[in-house]
Symmetry: D2
Subunit: 353 residues, 4 copies
Amino acid sequence: MHALVYHGVGQKSWDEVPDPRLQDDFDAIVGIEAATICGTDLHILMGDVPEVTPGRVLGHEAVGVVEAVGSAVRSVQPGDRVVVSCINGCGICRFCRQGRYGQCLGGGGWVLGHLIDGVQAEYARIPFADTSLYRLPSSMSAEAAVLLADILPTSYEVGVLAGRVRPGDTVAVVGAGPIGLAAVMTARLFSPAHIIVIDPVVSRLDAAKRFGADVVVANGPTQPEPADLVMDLTGGLGADVVIEAVGKPETFELCTRLVRPLGHVANIGVHGAPATLHLETLWTKDVTITTGLVDTSSTAELLGLVANRQIEPNPLVTHTFALSEVMTAYDVFSRAGETGALKVVMTKEHVAS
Amino acid sequence: MHALVYHGVGQKSWDEVPDPRLQDDFDAIVGIEAATICGTDLHILMGDVPEVTPGRVLGHEAVGVVEAVGSAVRSVQPGDRVVVSCINGCGICRFCRQGRYGQCLGGGGWVLGHLIDGVQAEYARIPFADTSLYRLPSSMSAEAAVLLADILPTSYEVGVLAGRVRPGDTVAVVGAGPIGLAAVMTARLFSPAHIIVIDPVVSRLDAAKRFGADVVVANGPTQPEPADLVMDLTGGLGADVVIEAVGKPETFELCTRLVRPLGHVANIGVHGAPATLHLETLWTKDVTITTGLVDTSSTAELLGLVANRQIEPNPLVTHTFALSEVMTAYDVFSRAGETGALKVVMTKEHVAS
Amino acid sequence: MHALVYHGVGQKSWDEVPDPRLQDDFDAIVGIEAATICGTDLHILMGDVPEVTPGRVLGHEAVGVVEAVGSAVRSVQPGDRVVVSCINGCGICRFCRQGRYGQCLGGGGWVLGHLIDGVQAEYARIPFADTSLYRLPSSMSAEAAVLLADILPTSYEVGVLAGRVRPGDTVAVVGAGPIGLAAVMTARLFSPAHIIVIDPVVSRLDAAKRFGADVVVANGPTQPEPADLVMDLTGGLGADVVIEAVGKPETFELCTRLVRPLGHVANIGVHGAPATLHLETLWTKDVTITTGLVDTSSTAELLGLVANRQIEPNPLVTHTFALSEVMTAYDVFSRAGETGALKVVMTKEHVAS
Amino acid sequence: MHALVYHGVGQKSWDEVPDPRLQDDFDAIVGIEAATICGTDLHILMGDVPEVTPGRVLGHEAVGVVEAVGSAVRSVQPGDRVVVSCINGCGICRFCRQGRYGQCLGGGGWVLGHLIDGVQAEYARIPFADTSLYRLPSSMSAEAAVLLADILPTSYEVGVLAGRVRPGDTVAVVGAGPIGLAAVMTARLFSPAHIIVIDPVVSRLDAAKRFGADVVVANGPTQPEPADLVMDLTGGLGADVVIEAVGKPETFELCTRLVRPLGHVANIGVHGAPATLHLETLWTKDVTITTGLVDTSSTAELLGLVANRQIEPNPLVTHTFALSEVMTAYDVFSRAGETGALKVVMTKEHVAS
């Protein structure tokens, strides 16, 4: 088969590689119908995730059809159309028993396209298939369904649920990239009164409005301090919930300035460097700060909400390619500033241009 | 009357000052039976709390007898023996309606010995008396009761409840000063399996054992990294709940190294400087970090637990003085390293030596 | 002034009575702009609420303008336009400190039009004004605002919040009277996937659809068992949340047949007789059953949601009268089956026909 | 091997039967070291559980040594000493993913000694071994460990956790049989101020005192209404948490009279008949009533607490027999009124008298 193979920092190619085979009773083999690229894949290519070694097939978000299952797999069978979650859980460790698959102690967690070969390929081996694969209705498009693999549960679990968004809240989302926009979309399930999105890029702020933000704020060196505006909008208190969707020290620190006393800061951003925590002002403020890797424990719930059209994620997909065009897709995705790319999806069906 | 008056950085004296008078319908005047000194009072004297201006009577923890009440006070009357909480809440703002008096938007919060005259005095005016004063049984000693004003609710609310201690947990408390020891004592209400206390001072670690810690760890430049020990004791995972009871960047940072995935760091410490938050490792760890000022919303519950002898706080009081000896009491308390002082209590009854 | 006075079972009239006066420092006098009639008022007239004695002015839901306040009232002042909550809390008892005003131990709770004179009058005395009155924006219509006095917080707190409605849930509401429809409306704040409404009256089921139900079920002696349909719709499990909005033994018992394992039954209905609880089947089912009187702790939140047009309650008001037409209004409201009345509102402005 | 076989209503015998064999990849075979008898076993013998058919080996609580495991079993291996939980979960259904194994939709739940052969035998087949078996330290006695199979998690999960016992609470436990006494023991983990136990049998009340109750109340036809006493002890409010540990309509109804406004009634009792729910008084009382089958999701936590001697369950075991004496053990257990039996344990090691 063909797959997108990592060959060291900055190096990747669409190679012919051996087909994956069942290695464990809990494995499934999935024929990939659609896959997408995550910001984390770009981090891997920059060398920021050293556990990923040359030769690794990348990708952890896909939709496909089950080809084969190990003897212990019970929830799917060959022929089932499924979403492949970015997280696998052993199902029996202390954390998996609580549905916290992201922290699996039994060999799961984030492994696809990281510690084992991933899903930017024609076929993929999925370990612990019962906690990773969710059957899809035939009516759901691959473009919508592939967003259930990572971005929707991540924004919902790590942002909206951890931040405890409630009806009437003012929610501030710092960062209007794909994950920030998904947080806007999923926050709306709890009927906040206001969603304020802060980002330096005007086109992203426009997108934020389309996804449901009612206030957008450009930040940057020449811009006014966003906290002043948020304070104005909230009677001087700050936002009830602040969601960090960038992953830089300065954006995290901004979040801690935006939050009201007794409010929540939910960090989704992938950080490569420490931030400064201003405890000299925060210690009296009764704030709650959370971090988290997605568990994909909400996938079934989100799948129902997408099927029921309560979440319409398709606008997150800005570009579609054939699987074999994955090198082009990476290029478009990595130049999002120019291309306006949010999520790019590679599908088996797409006819390469 | 006499009162301990702040006269600027490093300056205080036991002065004759006018008696306090009712100024508002919600006020009470309390004749002080016992008061204590808080670490925060030492911070004030070092100039760290600039809102406190010369001429201010210090102190925010007391037991006394109600002398007079304003026309709107309903829960106490002259003659009632009461604990004076360190926090007053207006009772009707958004946060007070949720019992979050520490964040009162209506003129309450921490005001005693801070924004208005405090309780290290023969008499004190207590605003919003209904949310600050709790009637005491005559059988409860002033020494035990005065600990209900601040240290017990602070350790319980900001440490134990915010950290969500549960039966069977491993709780790590960083700092074995009075507030850390109170956290040990109140954490035990939830039957943790292990309480690990970390502090550089051996005599404090001995105290921690007496208060209920089962593991104590000396930390400091020449000591092994405490996180290694905590990891050993917890199968490599870390503590379920970590309570910061010091208020320094390095102790807060230690807390974030001690906590297990999905665990809680509850900050009680009073911080004067920012800390470094290692988001580059914490972002995937599903940790919850909380800060907070005490609300004294648990005072009635704790009062019952002390009355019922489920909490025995008296060992926290190491020294007793007459009210008029408050200058000596400050000296003993400020040299805790030498004197072994935990809480020092000044009482009306005590005959000056 | 004039007021609607209860004169014993089945007896009431629009009488001239003395104007109310401030009796306590915490009182306010409100000039009534609009009032409405509650099903509970009909119960009073049937003699079901024996604490209500002849001579009592009825009514506990109003909008008005503050005329005068006692010396201890802090949150409103003469001239403020306010909603008058059906619940008053002393603010300082154990339960009020938790925002549970409905269970006030200090003389509050439901008292208006019950233990003291109510608001179906030109003026009313409101005790504990600070926990009962909420300032209204001038742009909000009296018809919308008067629904904030009781029906919206009751359906939201006692139904939706107690029942823990979550995104993607199937919610069953038994009873499509005003409170059931308000539960449909406020449940939508949490984005359930399905709202099933069950009622014997077809016109009410039509109304339920307009308020947001997606499935409606007629129940009654000649109808199929509604539980069968709900089981069909939920894969045999039952509804996640079931809200009782009638107050009869048979409707409550139906609710316990509709709920799934691990689900919630939230009772809003006013019951006059015991129900049978089938513990022989429920004991293994992990269900949670809640009852409750409204606290009006959500009034500020709901007021914001109405102001922000996230809740549009006006369609609940089917008939409008002048205050002086209250006898006619009662007649229309009590014959809801014929008149199609949901909420009837009497306003000062309305010109009597 | 030998096993205790049910032969129809009132009929059982210690028969020679074929050894169990692995039937599924998720099975384990356990050699039984100790087993106990549950009140439910007596119900089965009375014909109250018709799913149990003649020929069934009874018993769902045991300790033993793993003899063999299916290919998909990962958490135990032959030679491991384990507690056998009364509940098995498939691990992958909607409810098992939340740790709610008692409601398993995938063939688990309570099956041992119910739908498949049980553990009052020399060997037993345990399905879904990974969610049912917990490794035991060699230092823990079989008598203590066997109580982890059912009675300790049931009292803790269905009583104490569902009832939300908190420090300082007044907890009323209705029923001082083994499960009520276990509820007393596990409630103490949360430091309630008072535990009131109500039972008609004086010897059981004496036992309740030994297990930690501070108030015991005899109820019965000639006794004063227990609710009066509980009201006296709680200032007229009622108990914070009431735990039903009998399973009769009248004891459940008593619980609903004992609970305070905003309190919890947690039903553990196994009911064979409906109860009357006095909604005409309860509807305004903000009570929460819960039912539940144990999930055994707390077994690891409780195992740690027993190992750490924070729970000392041995006094629950009043009689010990050899496995081959199980017929005598049933006799003693079924005449608890005479014999004073709480839990009777049959062990492999015990030399038959």
